[in-house]
């Protein structure tokens, strides 16, 4: 029996487990992304007019991104409320990783608008809120979505490591495979994770193209 066949038969035998781990994985990613968007986009809107806060927020988000993911999971375990073993800690870590691309792109999108458009908006008597919601946000949407797309792909990858702190998902197969020196097990985690990332990239890319103006 060739190794290929053994992989395929392994996948076939364990397809129910792989499927449920994939669902767990997606749940982790989706929850983390929703929270990261709910924090990142409003925060990005908030820091547009506040240079000091902007420097701080972007610096903090960048620093978090440089911490190796396994280390970040480790650091979070002893922290009360948000830490510990399990899904909640994993989600906190994933949110921290997803935040920078969303925050940065929200800020860049909102500020990278043709000054003539903003001047006209102001001079025509639009209020600041109207300028934000009717001009800046719609024009920034494609750029913000590009940030969400990057963040989603990062999160799908980093979420495999969340298995190390007992959060489940596709990483469970990978860690078990590494421990048992089993390629089949590693691939059972790695292939669906890669496919998820490709699929998310493709779908969000479609939406992004739809939103692009001019």
């Amino acid at each position: 029996m060739s190794p290929d066949q053994s992989n395929w038969s392994f996948f076939a035998e364990h397809r129910a487990e792989i499927f449920s781990a994939t669902l767990d994985h997606m749940a982790l990613v989706v929850i983390a992304m929703i929270i990261a968007i709910l924090i990142g986009v409003p925060l990005g809107m908030f820091i547009v007019q506040r240079p000091t806060l902007r420097a701080i927020a972007l610096a903090v988000a960048s620093i978090f991104q440089t911490v190796p993911s396994l280390a970040l999971f480790g650091f979070l375990i002893p922290i009360p409320f948000i830490g510990g073993i399990g899904k909640r800690t994993a989600i906190v870590a994933l949110v921290i990783y997803a935040l920078l691309p969303i925050l940065r792109n929200t800020y860049v999108g909102l500020t990278g608008i043709d000054p003539a458009v903003l001047e006209a908006a102001e001079a025509m008597g639009m209020t600041n809120a109207q300028i934000l919601f009717r001009v800046r946000l719609p024009l920034a949407l494609a750029v913000i979505l590009a940030g969400i797309r990057t963040a989603t792909i990062i999160t799908i990858g980093v979420a495999t490591i969340a298995a190390a702190i007992g959060a489940g998902g596709l990483g469970t197969f990978i860690f078990r495979g590494v421990a048992l020196v089993s390629d089949s097990l590693i691939l059972a985690g790695a292939i669906p994770a890669a496919l998820l990332a490709l699929l998310a990239d493709f779908l969000l890319g479609l939406v992004e193209r739809k939103l692009k103006v001019s």
Binding site: A116, V117, E119, A120, A123, G125, M126, S214
Partner: protein, 260 residues
């Protein structure tokens, strides 16, 4: 707002000893000692080189900027006392490159102020069609296009239509035709000149092009380094002896045969 304007036929805009400095540093003065009255129905052209302060002067009129010293009165009320949103919605504004909203259609762009003012749909649609015809764009052909699908001249026409949408008594224009090719520019200048006479709006128009000033102005104000150095009707302007006037007149002679 319109009814109020009709009753009032004096100076629509008045500058009283206005100076404008950046960061309150008097040495970095953009405008100094400006006194100026814009009366009802006139087309006042602010002429000057780049950096002479003409755009700043214009932006003081709709509260985009406020004077460091002195005061700017619009309909006899200081811009500092106006509700800025109300003030600006009563003043049309056209800039170079038009500044149209790229995510709006032509119709939505023109309908901006009526939409903000919550006009009903029918009245807005009728007004948009009326304005597009006024600026020479066929509504059925152009209403649903996006700004990127228009030529520079067409965009500028939409910019004028948008500024006129809520029928403001005052129109501020900052080099609106500056970025157009010479042929389109001449075409728009001619049409706009006829339009301006017909509408009876009070217009303040910024340009560095003397030919454009002579064509459009009922009065020309020449700015040099933040000060008014000459003020005259187009007929008198070319006869003035001030060196800056002569410099501009020389620029006109440099292009023979192009006099309007």
């Amino acid at each position: 707002m319109n009814a109020k304007t009709e009753e009032f036929l004096g100076n629509l805009i008045e500058f009283r000893e206005v100076s404008f400095h950046i960061n309150d540093i008097p040495t970095r003065s953009i405008l100094s000692g400006i006194s100026l009255a814009v009366s009802h129905g006139e087309t006042l052209v602010l002429l000057g080189r780049s950096g002479s302060g003409k755009t700043t002067l214009l932006r003081l009129m709709n509260g985009m900027l406020f004077p460091t010293q002195g005061e700017v009165l619009v309909q006899q009320r200081s811009t500092c006392d106006w509700d800025l949103i109300r003030l600006r919605r009563g003043i049309g504004y056209v800039i170079q490159e038009a500044g149209l909203f790229p995510h709006f259609t032509v119709a939505e762009n023109v309908a901006l102020v009526p939409t903000l003012e919550k006009w009903d749909r029918g009245r807005t649609a009728a007004r948009v069609s009326e304005l597009l015809i006024l600026v020479g764009l066929e509504p059925t052909e152009f209403a649903d296009r996006r700004p990127r699908e228009l030529s520079g001249g067409q965009r500028q026409r939409v910019g004028v239509a948008r500024a006129l949408a809520a029928d403001p008594p005052i129109l501020l224009m900052d080099e609106p035709f500056g970025a157009l090719d010479p042929v389109t520019r001449a075409e728009l200048q001619r049409e706009f000149s006829a339009l301006a006479r017909r509408l009876g709006k009070t217009i303040v128009f910024v340009t560095h092009d003397l030919r454009e000033a002579l064509l459009l102005a009922s009065r020309i104000v020449l700015l040099e380094a933040g000060r008014i150095v000459a003020m005259a009707s187009p007929q008198e302007f070319l006869r003035l002896e001030h060196p800056e006037v002569r410099a501009f007149a020389a620029s006109l002679e440099a292009a023979p045969g192009a006099t309007p």
